[in-house]
């Protein structure tokens, strides 16, 4: 069975890389978008099974991205998990109301992140595997 595809929308390069390594090690294929504009194009191109979305982005924040995804029927069904440095009940409520499956505050505990991803994808646990050689591919 082929790996599930996850699109990471995150403007911080280091955080992006960290997510990449962790998710690769957990058998996911990972794609990236660095701002609101490119996220829609990347989503169309790769048709991911899940999107990890930061809220603070250049050129329109995560809420804008969610609105745009919702407007495209083929993309509207992709589950979204918000991973943000913003906190507070207001942001959480707004994100969940906009259709996010979950709202996680940075830094997210690895186990929690993976559990939420699995839940959103309807998966069971797989073993994490080392992926030293992948670090250079970004």
């Amino acid at each position: 069975m082929s790996n599930k595809k996850i699109l990471i929308v995150e403007d911080d390069a280091d955080v992006r890389l960290g997510l990449h390594v962790r998710l690769k090690a957990n058998h996911y294929d990972v794609f990236f978008a660095v701002d609101a504009l490119s996220s829609l194009a990347e989503a169309r191109k790769h048709e991911p099974d899940l999107i990890l979305l930061d809220l603070g982005l250049p050129a329109g924040d995560g809420f804008v991205v969610m609105d745009r995804l919702k407007a495209v029927p083929a993309l509207a069904i992709i589950p979204i998990i918000v991973v943000s440095g913003r906190s507070g009940a207001a942001n959480r409520d707004r994100a969940l109301k906009a259709g996010a499956k979950a709202f996680l505050e940075k830094p997210v505990d690895n186990a929690e992140l993976l559990a939420v991803i699995r839940q959103a994808l309807g998966e069971t646990v797989k073993r994490e595997r080392p992926l030293v050689h992948d670090l250079g591919t970004l």
Partner: protein
């Protein structure tokens, strides 16, 4: 220099004193002073409320107002108008008190020099203006600081995230094998990441406290549960330090009316603090009981056998950014925000917090929290309402799962949005949304609205059903619901009965009816 006339309001019931004061303005340039003289406090307040007064000269002994009360009332109506109190020779202490209440100055009758009065007025106005300006600057600085704090905290989270991600990547062996010594070093990094994370969270919390954005959701909750949760959570940390951590909640304690999450947060901060300042082999004890001073509160104490707090610090420690001076004790503990956050959280739930200590023998932190009372919750609905002729209808809505049980998280989410839905179906002036009245078993939520309106029950039930049928939360979580209503026999109010005792009687009936129904439901199941 001002050109228009200075508008002075003189509030003085003694005609002789008033005339003497009036004469003192005669030497002033014509048109520079416009004096209004009133004899009664009620007239003065009405005049102040209209605005346009530059300064008030207030006698503290009026037919309808006396002492500091006059100052408070005047300040309440016109906080921006400077005020000078007039007192007798033997009242200087009272005058000093008046200054604390916000008076700009005081003048002793019979000792006022002719030329000094207008000058005193102008100085008072100038001082008041400068004070207001300083306050304004302070407020905008505070606001700027909060925005800054909030912004910085958010920005700190990204680099911290990257550090956490890569430390755990190495630690988990995703980048090759790690030997034991390296593993220990990584533990240190990780521990510090967590400490930084806690500090950033504290900063954000303080920023929202300052901006009054802190959300408090009052509900009926058990203090014993909160204490048990806290002790369980921190038992590991206590064991690591060789400290005995115990809880004592003797006797049946009533439920409290607070935000359950916030209470846990407060207790965690207090117990965590106690553990920090208690040496190995020490003890930390959490106790709860009815408060002797006011039985409508519980008092919860966190007592440690640590170094204690010197008497002059027991209030200071609740100030923002307070840090213990002794570096040996403080080590690297955080930002000094924990107790400040506690104080804000406790006071916003109607309680108090204080510390007492015998240095060298330990410290005790006490908080008080309001006991849940159905009658207190219902009282507002009875104000100004001719209840005696109408009936009370109770509407209950139960939410359950097709699976037969609700997870803790679904229960919490569910009860939050259910309360929102119900609130929107009620008449806020007449109806009361009761807290989860419990005792219907672990499988369902049981929310009741007391309706003090004759025809309300059916209409409200219909409204709730419609709202819930269209609710996608219900569908998404695969929940079931049912709503029904029943009417209580009217409760008679005796002619000489106080509203308070009457509301208590009604509350008791409501409680009785709910208990009856939930126990019969339990039997059915």
């Amino acid at each position: 220099m001002r050109n228009r006339a200075l508008k002075v309001l003189l509030v003085e019931d003694n005609a002789g004193d008033a005339r003497l004061l009036r004469e003192m303005f005669i030497t002033e340039r014509p048109g520079s002073i416009e004096l209004t003289h009133l004899m009664r406090m009620s007239d003065a307040l009405a005049h102040l409320a209209k605005g346009g007064v530059d300064i008030v000269l207030l006698d503290m002994g009026l037919p309808d107002g006396h002492g500091l009360d006059t100052v408070r009332r005047a300040r309440a109506v016109a906080p921006d108008v400077p005020l000078i109190v007039l007192t007798g020779l033997d009242d200087e202490a009272l005058a000093a008190e008046a200054m604390k209440e916000g008076a700009q100055d005081y003048l002793i009758k019979g000792q006022i020099e002719n030329r000094a009065l207008p000058r005193a007025l102008r100085h008072a106005i100038e001082r008041h203006r400068m004070q207001a300006e300083t306050d304004h600057i302070r407020m905008s600085q505070l606001q700027f600081k909060d925005e800054f704090l909030s912004h910085v905290s958010h920005e700190l989270r990204s680099p911290l995230t990257a550090i956490y991600q890569f430390v755990t990547i190495i630690q988990d062996g995703l980048a090759g094998e790690v030997n034991q010594e390296q593993q220990q070093h990584l533990e240190v990094v990780l521990r510090n990441v967590k400490q930084l994370q806690a500090m950033i969270n504290d900063l954000l919390e303080v920023a929202s406290v300052q901006a009054s954005k802190l959300l408090i959701r009052l509900e009926r909750t058990s203090i014993v549960d909160a204490i048990t949760y806290t002790v369980d959570t921190l038992q590991g940390a206590a064991r690591d330090k060789g400290i005995t951590l115990t809880a004592e909640t003797g006797g049946a304690l009533p439920d409290i009316w607070v935000d359950a999450t916030r209470i846990r947060q407060i207790l965690i901060i207090l117990v965590d603090n106690a553990l920090k300042f208690t040496p190995t082999n020490g003890t930390v004890k959490v106790q709860a009981r009815r408060w002797e001073q006011d039985p409508s509160f519980l008092v919860i104490e966190v007592a440690d056998s640590g170094c204690g707090i010197s008497a002059d610090k027991t209030e200071l420690i609740f100030e923002r950014l307070f840090q213990v001076a002794d570096p040996a004790l403080a080590a690297r503990k955080g930002l000094g925000l924990g107790l400040y956050i506690c104080k804000e959280l406790v006071s916003r739930q109607g309680g108090k917090i204080w510390a007492s200590s015998v240095p060298g023998e330990g410290a005790t932190f006490s908080i008080t929290l309001p006991v849940f009372s159905l009658s207190r919750l219902m009282a507002p609905a009875f104000v100004g309402h001719k209840y005696s002729e109408s009936q009370i209808t109770l509407v209950s809505t139960e939410v359950g799962s097709r699976m037969g049980w609700l997870s803790e998280k679904v229960r919490a989410d569910c009860s939050n949005w259910m309360r929102d839905v119900l609130q929107r179906c009620l008449n806020s002036k007449l109806d009361v949304l009761l807290p989860d009245m419990g005792s219907s078993g672990a499988t369902e939520l049981f929310v009741v609205a007391a309706v003090t309106d004759e025809i309300g029950g059916e209409a409200i039930t219909k409204r709730i059903r419609e709202k819930l049928h269209g609710s996608h939360e219900i569908v998404q979580a695969d929940l079931t619901f049912s709503t029904c209503y029943w009417t209580l026999p009217p409760v008679q109010r005796n002619a000489d009965e106080s509203m308070e005792s009457f509301v208590e009687k009604v509350a008791a009936k409501i409680q009785e009816s709910i208990d009856e129904r939930s126990s019969s439901r339990m039997v059915k199941i």
